[in-house]
Each structure stands twice: as C-alpha cells, then as structure tokens.
Symmetry: C2
Subunit: 379 residues, 2 copies
Amino acid sequence: MDLNFVIHNTDPSSKARVGQFTTAHGVIETPAFMPVGTQATIKAMDPAEVWDLGYRLILANTYHLFLRPGHKTIQRLGGLQKFMAWPGAILTDSGGFQLFSLKGLCQVSDDGVQFASHLDGARTMLTPELCVQIQEDMGVDIVMALDQMAIPGDGPEQTRLALERTTRWAERCLNARRRDDAALFGIVQGGFDPALRQQSAEQLVPLGFDGYAIGGLSVGETKLTMRAMIQATEPYLPTDKPRYLMGVGTPDDLVVATSMGVDMFDCVMPTRNARNGSVFTSVGKLNIRNAAHTEDESPLDPECRCSTCQRFSRAYLRHLFMAGEILAMRLLTMHNLAFYAKRIEMIKDAINNGSLGAWALQLANEMDKESESVITSQP
Amino acid sequence: MDLNFVIHNTDPSSKARVGQFTTAHGVIETPAFMPVGTQATIKAMDPAEVWDLGYRLILANTYHLFLRPGHKTIQRLGGLQKFMAWPGAILTDSGGFQLFSLKGLCQVSDDGVQFASHLDGARTMLTPELCVQIQEDMGVDIVMALDQMAIPGDGPEQTRLALERTTRWAERCLNARRRDDAALFGIVQGGFDPALRQQSAEQLVPLGFDGYAIGGLSVGETKLTMRAMIQATEPYLPTDKPRYLMGVGTPDDLVVATSMGVDMFDCVMPTRNARNGSVFTSVGKLNIRNAAHTEDESPLDPECRCSTCQRFSRAYLRHLFMAGEILAMRLLTMHNLAFYAKRIEMIKDAINNGSLGAWALQLANEMDKESESVITSQP
C-alpha cells in the first residue's frame, strides 16, 4: 500500500525533511525513531508507556516471532497489534540481519536462507515469499523485503553477488504480496562500496517499493564510512518515498543522517543501554553504576521531563540497579526512550528553523575527531 | 507513636474487625495487606502502580537496606519514602527473620545478632538498639522490634529461651526509641507451643507497644498449627491495638486469619509467584507456562478489572513469560497484587455483612482436608 508520504517542510541548509505518512494504524510523523520490540514487547516497557512517550511506530522482529510464538498463532489471535496491545503501527524487519549474524547456523542460496532455530535447532527455509507471508500474516503495517547483507570482510565480488541476490529477492517479495493494507520496503545493500550502493539503489527503485531502507550499516564501520554510504545511496532514492536507515543509531547519528535525507530509524541502543545502566542526558552519557551517584539527589537529567526524572534521584536508581531490581530497567529505559523522543522533536525544530545543517556538520566533525583519536591511539 | 487505632465494625460471626489507624504518612484501613518491597521497591512495580491498586502501607526490609544502600544514605537522602518516591506509609521488619534464615552466618547472644553480610561478608552486630535506630533513621512509620524466632526443630527449652530473649530485646527496643512519629510493634514468639505463645504475649503486652505481631509462623507448619498458634495468642493481645501476622499468606489465609482477629499481613507470595508464572484467579491458581494457554485469548481472570486483564490475553502473557521478557513479570505482578487488593475488599465486605465467619470456616475445612490428603498420600 502506498503510504501517501507528504513532505511538510525541507531544510534549506541540508537534505532533511519533515513529513508524514499514513499506515493502516495511524499517521506517522517523520523523522521517526522506532523503538525495538524484538519479541513483541519493547523490553521493560508497557506499550501504553511507549505510546505516552509519543511513539506511534515500533519495530518487531520477523525471525524471532516466526520462531516464537509463530506467525500463525499471532494471526489466529488477531494480529500483532492486538496480540501486544499496541495501538500504533508496526514495521517488522525481514529477519535477514538476524540470519546473517547466526554465522554457521545458516546456508544461503538463491532459493532463500536455510537456518536452524536458535531455540530448538529446527531447520527452516526462509524464502522471500515466506518472509512476506509471515509479516503479512502478522498484520504489520510495513513489511521489509528479505535481503542478503555483505558481511564485513566480504570481498567486492561477494558484496556484488549479495546485492544482486537482494534485488532478485526484492522482486520475488513484490510478487508475493497478498495484502493491500501493508507497505513493502526494499533494502539497499552494497557493503562499503559507493558504486555498489548506487547499483543496488538503481536496481531496486524501478521495482517500485513504498519506501527504501539502507541496510548493512551499523556493523562496526566508522562514522565516516556510514556517512559515505548514505551519501552514495541517497541521490538514487526517490524523494517522495520514506528512507529508512536500519539499525542506527546514537542520538547524534539521528541528527547527521536526517541532514542527509533519512526519514526513519530503529536502534536497540536506548533500550539495551538502559538495561546496562547507560543513560543519555543533555550533557552526555552517564553510567548509573558509577559510585559518584551513590548519594546524588539530582535526577538523571535536570532538563528531562520524563516520569523517571520527575520522581527519582540518581541515588535511588543506582541503588535499584546495583540490587538487580527490575524497576531499574524500567525507569532507565523510560528515560532513554524519552531522550530519543525529545531528540526527534529537536531535529524537527531544527529543520523547521533551518539550523539542522549546521548542527549536523558540527556533530559530524566531532565524530570524526573522536574516531581519529581512537585510530591514532591504537598501537 | 500511638496509631489511634479505631475499630469501625466487628463481625458477629467471628473475631474479625474493620478499622483504621493513622500514621505520619496517612490513614491505613484494616484489614491491610502489605506488599513486600524488600530492597525499597515492590519487585517489578512502579510505586505509582502500587498506590493506584489501593495500597497505602508497604513493607521494606531493615536487614537488606542496612547493607545496601545503608540507612545513613537513606537518611541523608530524606528518608525511605522520599528515596523510593512512595507517597504512603512504610513498615520495616526488624531483620530478625532474615538473620535466622542465614543459618551458620550469624551468632546470637543476649547482646544481639552478630552476622556476616550476604553481599560482602562484612561482620556487624545487630543489637536491639541499632535495629530501632536503623529503622528510625530511615524515617519509617512502623518500626518492628528485634526478635529471636524459634527455628523449626528447636526443643521446648530453646523455644522458651528465644521468646524470653525476645522480651528482653523488646524492652531495650522501647528504651531505644528517639522518634515520636513512628510506631513500634512487639513480636510474639513461642514456636508451636500454645503455652509459650501465651507466655510471650503476656510478657510483651504490659510493656505497651503500639501494635503486636505474631512472628515465627509461615515457616512450613500445617495450616492447623498456624491457626492453633493464632488462637493461642490472640486472647492475650489488647483489642485496641492492631495485630499483624507476619509473612502470611495465601488469599485464603487472609480470610481465615482475619476471622481470628488479625488486622495486618505481609507476604511475598503475590509478587514472587508472579515472577514464577503463578497467577491467582477467582477460580483458582494457574501457571502461565502451561501450553494450554498458547492460543488462549481470554484474560488471566475474567472477573478481574486490573490493567493486565483489561488489555492482555493469556496467550500474550505466556509468550512474554516463555521469552523471558520483563513485561511478563510486570503484568503478572500487577494482576496478583490486584487480586490481593480485591481479596481484602471482599474480606471487609464479609465482615460488614456478617458472613466472614462462615466463609473462613469453609476455607479452614478445605485447607485441613487438603493437608490431610497430602499426609495420607505420602508413602
């Protein structure tokens, strides 16, 4: 289904745009960050809390839900939205990324990906057709095509073969569609080679997807490489469809990638970091385990208006975390997701007042200095 | 401080009463069940959720909070209520029960209990005076005196020595009080011997506590023994002070013990069971892991109005539990605490309409049949 993507405003100082698209489960404003709900729950959060933070689109995982509880079970129970009591829209990733990270547990051929379940070892062949069917059966709003990503270390030939297979699979995904209330996104691959990224985009766009993802990034490359790959891809994507940078990223990555024309993001960082005690604040990251917080009465971030910061001190949060209490995970996740929601609002404001380009440039420079210092400090 | 315990109504068919008492942090209606917040959090719950369920008094643990984060830290941070953002009242148990369950890690003398921290092995002497000071420093509403419980298997002489030491410690606790905004409860001991229970109560009551606890129960004895010990104690407790049955119990225990004149309870059962997948419903217990729930669209309990039952199916809750998701713990705990809150309301209604005695009698008979069948089914 066409998402009726409308651009409200563009940034004169960059390629950023503010817009919206419309799913069967509501209007999504862009730029949009999707919290990750791998197993049909944003870890540690109640769906009502995610909604109250302003999120209207979340990501769930085809591979995990196919294995447990199974897409047919979810279908019989009325679809994923009803199953998890999420009133908003859902995008499911295709499982490609998970499968290729199961090195040794899967075999790829033109047919699809043969893999063994990480739960019970049961072998399944995930074809592009099955991948679309699983997502459609779950009733999600945005279906991702099955893709093959280059694995870091792949040579140019392997990278080219993977992107060409991604194109063939993309066509098969388009042909496998049965629902007209779900959008289908293609995924650009091509490793870290700008020419292959261009080639992938040029092969996918004529097929006519409802949106385009940039895949295969955020796998350990430098920030400079990530930007170069976005830059190599973006000009070949249609401006009138949403662009989705998969698996990215830090709050600053959102600013920089938005300035380069990206509209959608997902990342486990706000939720996973929270469960490790790592917290985003307006003056940088902090780890709640730090003994400096033992008797610190201040909130995580004095500028934050989330329900954690309005009620709890760093001292209490540190106590909960050190004691292994579930409430620590809840309250830190709440805060980090509030931080990301606010970051998206700040990005929209910066686009609307024409200041995003300068902000992004400054952050990109800082990132490069940081990664340079990492490189030069190595023996 | 006197709690100004007022009895609104008594049950003509039993010894039950409906009443209230007043703490520095609000009025507490009785009978009252206290959710257990060992480490300054009701496990998996936000304090606002506990409040919204109707709870106004919770229990926290002197021993655990003394070790981590330390009572002086809590005091410097403005007291336990502020620390954990709990707007209601707090009772702290004295740590006696925890210490005696650390067999081999503690040594008891008339001075107090010498113990090694389960966290870092540091040795501390917990005296009656220190025990009161810790609780007063944390600013709690109800302080429990340090007691020595008989350990199941203790002979009559050991049991008598423990209760007599409990009396001596109780006097020292009364003399150690410094705050006039906290109540102090004495704890009746005496093992499973009715005469020793009477003796303990008769020694404690003249000392003049603000309330009386029945301790040393719910340690593996039969329901019949538990009732016998309540029955042996209750006539020797003043009617105008609250009576608190420590560590009890099942929803049915609350009915039976209330009918015998008990006003207050605490138990980890609703919260701990939830984390093990065990759920209380109006038609008995269920375990959410049961495969029968895999595609069950019904709520945990169709009669329950909690936020879990209003939104989520057994199928989803089972999925979350099997996937090890934190939200499972949250939602099941929410439901079990709602079940206990409703049980307390049902008990109050039964007292007010004079039907509690019959209800309690029926449950007590069922309990005894059950324990008989357990005994006779053993080889």
